[in-house]
Amino acid sequence: MQKTLKRYFPIFVLPTLIAFSFAFIIPFVMGVYLSFCKFKTITNAQFIGFDNYIKIFANKDFINAFGFTVKFSILAILTINIFAFALAMALTRKMAGTNLFRTVFFMPNLIGGIILGYIWQQMINAVLLKYETTLVANATYGFIGLVVLMNWQMIGYMMIIYIAGLQNVPTELIEAAKIDGATSWQTLIKVKIPMVMPSITICLFLTVSNCFKLFDQNLALTSGAPSKKTAMLALDIYNTFYGRSGFEGVGQAKAVLFFIIVAIIALSQLALTRSKEVEQ
C-alpha cells in the first residue's frame, strides 16, 4: 500500500507544500538571513553581521515593549483563568438557564481583534469623558483597558474548556469525598482541581500564546499611545519595520528575537505538560 501511495506525492503533498513554501519556508529563511543585513527592499540587502541586533538596544523601545508585554500577560493570564474557572464552576451545577449564560459569555471570542479594540476604545473613552480625560492620556488606562478587553474576549473560550474538564470528573470521586466529610472548598482543592489539571494546562498554553503575541487589539485600542508606553512586542516590531525607513533590518532582528522568546516559552510549557502527564 505504501508503495502505491508513494507515487501519488505530487497530488497529495505538492499543493500544500507549494503554498507552505510561499507563506512560510522561503519567508522564514529569508527573514533569518535579512536580520543580518542592511536593506530597504529585499533585492539590495547587504550583509552587516550583528549590527541590527546591537541596534535593537540603541533605544529603550524593545525593552519597554517587552516589560509591558510581560506585565500585561501575567495579569491577563491570571484574571482570565480565575474568572473562567469560577464561571465554569457556576455553570456545571445543572441550574436553569445555563445554556443561555454559556452562549453569551462565549460570543465575544468570535469578534475579531480590530473590531473589539475599537468597540472598547469607544466605551472606555465614553467612561473617561466624565473625568474629562481620554484613553491615551495615561498609560495606565491603556494597560487596564487591554486587560479588561482580553478578559472580555477570552473568558468565554477558557470557560468552555474548563466546563468540558469539570464534566469529566467522575461523580463517584466527588461523592466519596463528601462521605469522607470534605467541605466543598476541600473537594475543590483536593479533588476537582487535580482532576482538571489537563484543562488548566491547555488554558494556560492558549492564554499565554494569545496574550504574548497580541497585536490587533493593541493596535486598535491605543496603538501604543501615549508615546509608545502601551506598545507590546508585536506592535513595536511592526512600527520598527514600517514606521521608519532604513530600520527594516532592525525590525527583522527584533522579529527573530521575538521568535526565540516565543519558542522558549512554548517549549518550556510543552516540557512542563509532558512531566505532568507522566505523573498522572
Partner: protein, 279 residues
C-alpha cells in the same frame, strides 16, 4: 437541598449581572450608531432622543465610505475558499505523511509542526514582499497564502486523528481495486469528517478576523479590502470626524459573526473544545 437552592439563586443574580456587563459594549455601539454624529460625544450613554436620533444615516455613511458590501464579499470569498482549500489539501497531505514512512515525510511533519510556534511578525515583511513580487497580492493569492499558513495546525490535527484509524479498512479498499485517491475520498475522508469540521471552524474564525495578512499583502488602496481592513481604514482616516459612521460600521461588522454563531453554535463550541484538546 434548601441550601443549594439559595446558592443557585444568588448565583443566577450574579450571572445575570455579568451577562449585562458582557453585552454592554455591544449595546453601547448599537445605541450610538443611531445617534447623529455630533451628539455621540455629548452623552455617550444616553438613549437617542427625537433630537439626536439619526435613523439610518450613519449606516448609509458607513457603508458608502468603506464599500462595506464589497468588503463583506471579499471577506466571504477569501474565508470560504481558504477554508475549503485547507480542508482538502491538508487532509490529503496529512494522510500521505502519516501513511508513508520515510525521512522526507517525517521532516515535513516536523516542519509543519514547527511553523505553529513561529509568530507572524517573523515572516510578515519577507512574506508580503515575496507575495508582491510573485503577484499573489489579490484574493486568489490570499487563498494560497492562507493554505500555507493554516497548514501547520490543520496537518497536526488531521494526522493526530489519522494515526488512530486502523490500516485494515484502507487495505481492504485497496484490495478491492481502489487507487489511493479513491481510497482517500471514499474511505478515509468520511471518517475524518468530525476533525474536518473542527479544523474548518478554527480556520474560519482565524481567516475571517485576520487583519495583518490582508492589510500587508493587499493593502488599503485596492478594491479587495476585507472587513477588518475596511474598519481600520475608516477609523484610521475618518475616526475623529465621523463617529456615527464608525459606530454603524462596528455594528455591521458584528452582525455576520453573531448570525453565524447563533446558527452553528453547537458545532462552534464542540469544535473549539476539540481543537483545544488536540492542539
Amino acid at each position: 437541598m434548601k441550601q443549594k437552592k439559595m446558592v443557585d439563586g444568588v448565583l443566577i443574580v450574579v450571572l445575570c449581572v455579568l451577562v449585562v456587563a458582557f453585552l454592554t459594549p455591544i449595546f453601547f455601539v448599537l445605541l450610538n450608531s443611531f445617534k447623529g454624529k455630533l451628539y455621540i460625544s455629548n452623552n455617550p450613554f444616553a438613549f437617542p432622543t427625537g433630537e439626536t436620533f439619526a435613523g439610518l444615516t450613519n449606516y448609509m455613511n458607513g457603508i458608502s465610505k468603506t464599500n462595506f458590501f464589497g468588503a463583506f464579499g471579499w471577506s466571504l470569498f477569501i474565508t470560504v475558499f481558504s477554508v475549503a482549500a485547507i480542508i482538502l489539501f491538508t487532509s490529503m497531505t496529512a494522510y500521505y505523511i502519516t501513511r508513508v514512512k520515510s525521512k522526507v515525510t517525517s521532516a515535513l511533519y516536523y516542519m509543519f509542526a514547527f511553523s505553529m510556534i513561529v509568530p507572524f511578525q517573523m515572516v510578515m515583511f519577507t512574506m508580503s514582499k515575496l507575495a508582491n513580487s510573485t503577484h499573489l497580492n489579490n484574493p486568489p493569492g490570499m487563498v494560497l497564502l492562507y493554505l500555507g499558513f493554516g497548514a501547520g495546525l490543520a496537518i497536526f490535527m488531521f494526522s493526530g486523528f489519522i494515526k488512530s484509524i486502523p490500516l485494515e479498512i484502507e487495505e481492504a479498499a485497496m484490495i478491492d481495486g481502489c487507487n489511493p485517491l479513491q481510497t482517500f475520498f471514499g474511505v478515509v475522508m468520511p471518517i475524518l469528517k468530525p476533525t474536518a469540521i473542527t479544523v474548518a471552524i478554527l480556520q474560519a474564525m482565524w481567516v475571517w478576523n485576520d487583519y495583518l495578512l490582508p492589510y500587508l499583502v493587499i493593502g488599503l488602496s485596492t478594491p479587495y479590502k476585507t472587513i477588518p481592513v475596511a474598519v481600520q481604514y475608516l477609523i484610521g482616516s475618518y475616526g475623529a470626524k465621523d463617529m456615527g459612521a464608525m459606530m454603524a460600521l462596528l455594528v455591521l461588522s458584528i452582525i455576520p459573526i453573531v448570525i453565524f454563531y447563533l446558527t452553528c453554535q453547537k458545532y462552534i463550541i464542540e469544535g473549539v473544545v476539540a481543537g483545544a484538546v488536540k492542539g
